[in-house]
Each structure stands twice: as C-alpha cells, then as structure tokens.
Symmetry: C2
Subunit: 351 residues, 2 copies
C-alpha cells in the first residue's frame, strides 16, 4: 500500500472549515480502496501574513517540493490586498512547481438548479484547460509620469512557444481521451493582434498532430455568449491564462455550480507536486460559522485522487457527491439547513 | 430643419442588406419628427480590399471627418483575415476619430426568448461602457526567436490616465442620469497586477467626484458568472477595451439578443463623427439571400438619433422595434419567415 504525502494548506476563512471535510472523505476513500495518506499541515495564509509579514516562509516551496500533492483551501483576509495573498503564495506555487495546467470541470449536477432554462444534467459536461503560468499574468511592466495627468501604465503579455505548445498538447490529449474528441480554442486574434495570432498558429500546428480531434476556435467575446446559449457545444476548451480564468468561472456560473466547483493546478510531468483547490474563496462573510459548503473542496479531492492514479476512488467520491446533492443533506447556499461537517460526513459515509 | 450629413459604410455581406433598412427607418423617423438626412455612401469593405489592396482610400478618414455621424454595416470576407478588415478600417476609425466610448445596451426584449430561466422583459436593462481606443488592443509588441522552439511573443497593454479617466467619467455621468445611479467596474487587479490596480485607483479617484453614484467592482472572471446568475444587479458596467468587448457580447448572449444588438462608438466631445454599427458581423453564410435580421442595424440607427439630439425620434424607433418584435413580421433567426425588407418596412411603418 503506497503512502501519499500530501501538503495541506487550509489557508484562511472557510478554507479551514472545508479542508477537514475534504480529508474526511479522502480518508474514507482510502479505507475502501486501500490508499494511505500522510497529511502534513502548513499554516500559510493571510493570518500568517498579518503576524509575520509573509504568506509563507522563504523556503516554503522547498519544504513541500517533494510532497506528492498539495491540498489547498482558500486564502484571503478583508485587510490583506489580493495581490499580496495571491502573489505571495498561490501564484509562486503555480509557477515554481510548473503547474502549467489549470483544469476545471463544467458540469450540470443533479440537485443544483442552473440559471439556464431547459437544461438537464448530462447535457453540459466539459473541461476548461487553462494555461496557468504565463500570458497575460506577467509581472513585467510599470508606470511612467506616475501621479500626474500624463501617467502611462504598461504591462506585457508574454507567450512562449514552449508554454503555449505544452498546454495545447495537454488539451489535445485530454480531448483525444474523450468520446467526442472535440477541442475548442479561445482566441482574440482580431483585436489582440500580436500574441493571439501566435496562439492561433500554434493551435493549427499542434492540431496537425491530432487529426482525430475536431478543432475549432472562437473569439473570447462570442465564446462567452456561446457558453450561455450553447453550452452543449463544448467538450474541451483551451485558453490562455486570462481567457481560461474567465471561462472557468463563467462555465460554473452557467451550471450554477460556482460554489462547489473544483480546480486542479497540474504539473503533468510530475516533476513537482500538483495543487488541488476549490474555485471559491475564503468567504470572510460566512467564515467561522460552520455553514460553508464543503463540496468544492471534496470535489478537488476527487481530482487529486485521479491525479494520484486512483480513478476508481475518484469515481466513488464523485458518485457520493452526486448522491448527497440529490438527497441531501445540503448546506444553506444549496437550500438546506445542514452544516459543513454534516455534509462532509454524509459524503464520507456514502463513499 | 437641420440636415445631418451621414457617411454610410454598408461594408460586406449582410451589411449591404441591413443598412438600407436602417436608412428606411431613419427616413421614416425623419419625416415624422422633421429631421433631414443627407446620406453619402462609401464602398469601403473587404470587397474593395480584394480589388484595390486597401479597405479604404488613404485619405479615408479625411473624407468623412466632417460628417455628423457614420452609419456602418459590417465588414468581413471569408478570405480576408480579420486583422486586415478590422485594422484597415474599423479600428483606425475608432482611434482616428477618438471614439473612445463603445456603448452597448443589454436589454431583455419582448418576443425574444432568453436562454435564462424565469426572467421577464424589464428585469434586465443595463449599459456596457467599453473603453474603445487603448488598453489591451495595442499594436506594440513583437516576436523574438521567430519560428524556433525558443520563440517568445510579447504584446503590451497600455493604459493612460487620460484614457482611463475619460471613459470612467462618461460611465459615471451615464450612471448619474439613470434612476438606479449604480456603476460597476470590471477589473482583474488580483491577476493582471500592474495595469488593473491602476484602473481600480482611477475608479476610486473618479468615484469621489460622484458621491451620488453607488460604485462597486468585480473581477472579470466572477463578473461573467454574475452576468448569468444575477443580470438584474447591473445598471452601468464599465470595462477596459478587452473586458468591455467580452461583456458586451456576453450581455446580449444572456438576453438572447446577440443577433439584434446595436453599438455606438462615440466621440462624446463631437470633435469627430461617431460611428453606429450592429454587433453582428457580415455573416457570409447567409449573405445575398435577403434573410438577415435588420433590427441590429435599425437599433444602431436609434442610437444615432439619440446622439444627434433627437431623443423623441429614437424613442419612436425603439417602440416600433419592440412592436414588431412582439407581433412580427420576424426573420428566420427569430422564428419567422419574413425577409429583411419586410421587417425593415414594418418597423418604418410603425414609426
Ligand atoms: C471585430 C473586433 C476587432 C471587435 C472588437 O473586438 O473590438 C468586435 O468584437 C467588436 O466588439 O466590435
Ligand atoms: C485569485 C486569482 C489570482 C486567481 C486567478 O485569476 O488565477 C483565481 O481567479 C483563480 O482562477 O484561481
């Protein structure tokens, strides 16, 4: 029985409430499928920042570099600016560990009302593959004539062939593994007329290696409208850091699952640990009351199981989530009265 | 009776079919409200590009600089790359004429089914104000190590205080003029951590001048989800060139009006002509068959009337559009069998 060493970073707010439920369910799956976990907890957070001036220790990345995965809750504190909490922890991990794939499912789930009219579970079921390390999220740029009426602020978007090709290959492989074998690329080469035509070029070049995958592309503006009007069109959607970010909130918005959506930050080569986190944030407004919905964290745990090579255990967790979504118990946001622990326990028992 | 000199650029494809219907309706409104138009037509288009190698003559902008407005159809030909048609005509006009406001309505209209469940006309009615000349649509950048595995492609986003403040002021003025007095700013300062924090700063600075306007902001990712889940939250939404572009397709996607949405490219100071165009493109797939829906063009005409100072005539055109949307005739895309001319004529008669 292999032991997986998992670095656990609950973070702030409801992160600290939902992570234990994720662990509870993963432990249950471990018992059933013979998987052993060694959990090691780290207090990296805005709370830590408030006390010490840093989200994580200077050698933080080195401390967890050889773990098998990172199970992450959420960070964010009302008085800590976003760019501190993110650029001090999440983004360094994405980059330092070359987690160049951000993978998020868009799936209409049972028991969750979608804002769309006349759509049933099964009809919407696709993946967003987001480039997670370069592109529009660069730290190169700055200001000139600061503080005056002539102020000019510049920021570079940087795309490399290596960075673009590896995310495209991942997306094409994923599309190839699915029945529909359909890949959609998000672009904006008509307006962002330097980097995006390059992106399109690489899509065409890599597509040549995947003649069995049907490939199309839409400009990001109309693509967002298609997400609402034709979510059944999509199978695997690949986008740059920014476009993937937008689409992976919009998709769960369309299915009504934004509060329970999971995400995986993957280093597919397994040279570094991958990171699994819910899409939701630390929700300071409801933190401390034990009412947060733990399903996003648990679903992220299912993605972690899949990544660690336990597809059967991942499927069992997904089935348990769907069962509890259908029959309850449910937290308040989902129309129920149960608390975080009750929902986590119910899913663990169903596993 | 003032005569308005209008430069008419039908463009390609269905642009040439819907522009005459727009003119038909504007003429009808002119007869009723005593407005005189002098229409001057220009053949600037991909067709012209195919023949002469240029979308417009070299002195194109000078030829129409002193017109009162530009009534634009759509450009685009299957074999002409987007960046040629757009950067050779539309974008030079937006920039050359300092049409720094791109204004688009998001409105649930009678007779148009929305993809959203349980929403009625009146519940969704807001404006997108998009910065239209700078930001992410820059032409600065390029490639290094081109054609090799080391290829790097860079593009700058450029925001100026002058450019940001003027679009924000326009948006705040618009919000102030509306009953709800509510402005939402689209940002992404947590990820695009150089230009977007500057945008947020300017929002805060300009908001100080508008204490009567309620101001909030969302990151673009979650904002797109809110457009789907809570479209009733919005009144005036302001965004950068790229974010505004995305939101102004997503908004009409949510209301089901993407095929009939209008847009105004405004130079609020009236130093240069403003440009009015439907959101839809030249639709080569249905061009030449006389079945295109002319309502986007006609609605753009209503926005032009408003800009030219004829609010009453604009309201009459909008009422006529709503009447025909309710009772028909309708083109095929809207579930009817009428052709372009029949719908245009019906709206003109209703005016
Ligand atoms: C065609 C394209 C360059 C344009 C834009 O992105 O500005 C279009 O999408 C629009 O919104 O007018
Ligand atoms: C918090 C923010 C920097 C982050 C991102 O944009 O990457 C978040 O939106 C996400 O999608 O994980």
């Amino acid at each position: 029985m292999a032991t997986h060493r998992i670095a656990v970073i609950p973070g702030d707010g409801i992160g600290k409430e939902v992570v234990p439920e994720g662990i509870r369910v993963l432990e249950a799956a471990g018992r059933r499928f013979g998987i052993d976990f060694a959990w090691e907890s780290f207090d990296w957070s805005c709370e830590r920042y408030a006390e010490t001036g840093a989200m994580m220790p200077e050698d933080g990345l080195a401390q967890i570099r050889s773990h098998d995965a990172i199970f992450f809750g959420a960070v964010g504190f009302p008085n800590v600016p976003d760019h501190v909490s993110l650029w001090g922890l999440l983004i360094p991990m994405r980059r330092g560990f070359q987690q160049y794939v951000n993978l998020r499912p868009v799936r209409l789930m049972p028991g969750i009302p979608s804002p769309l009219a006349g759509r049933a579970p099964g009809e919407i079921d696709f993946w967003i593959v987001r480039e997670n390390t370069e592109g529009e999220y660069s730290s190169i740029g700055g200001r000139m004539f600061e503080g005056t009426d002539d102020e000019v602020v510049v920021q570079e978007s940087i795309f490399t062939r290596r960075g673009v090709d590896r995310i495209l290959r991942y997306a094409f492989e994923l599309a190839r593994s699915r029945p529909k074998k359909h890949l959609t690329s998000a672009t904006k080469s008509n307006g962002i007329a330097i980097t995006m035509p390059f992106w399109d070029e690489r899509v065409r070049a890599v597509a040549d290696e995947y003649p069995d995958v049907r490939t199309d592309q839409y400009h990001i503006d109309i693509l967002t409208a298609h997400f609402v009007q034709h979510p059944d069109w999509f199978d695997v959607v690949v986008g740059s850091n920014l476009f993937g970010d937008i689409l992976s909130d919009l998709g769960p918005g369309v299915t009504g699952t934004i509060g329970i959506a999971p995400s995986a930050n993957l280093n597919p080569e397994r040279a570094f640990p991958s990171l699994f986190e819910p899409v939701h944030g630390s929700a300071p407004d409801i933190a401390g009351r034990g009412i947060a919905n733990p399903i996003g964290q648990i679903w992220s745990g299912a993605m972690m199981l899949e990544h660690l090579g336990h597809a059967d255990a991942a499927a069992a967790v997904m089935a348990a989530i769907e069962g509890v979504l259908t029959t309850g118990p449910r937290t308040r946001d989902a129309g129920g009265t149960a608390n975080t622990i009750e929902v986590g326990t119910a899913i663990a028992e169903a596993v």
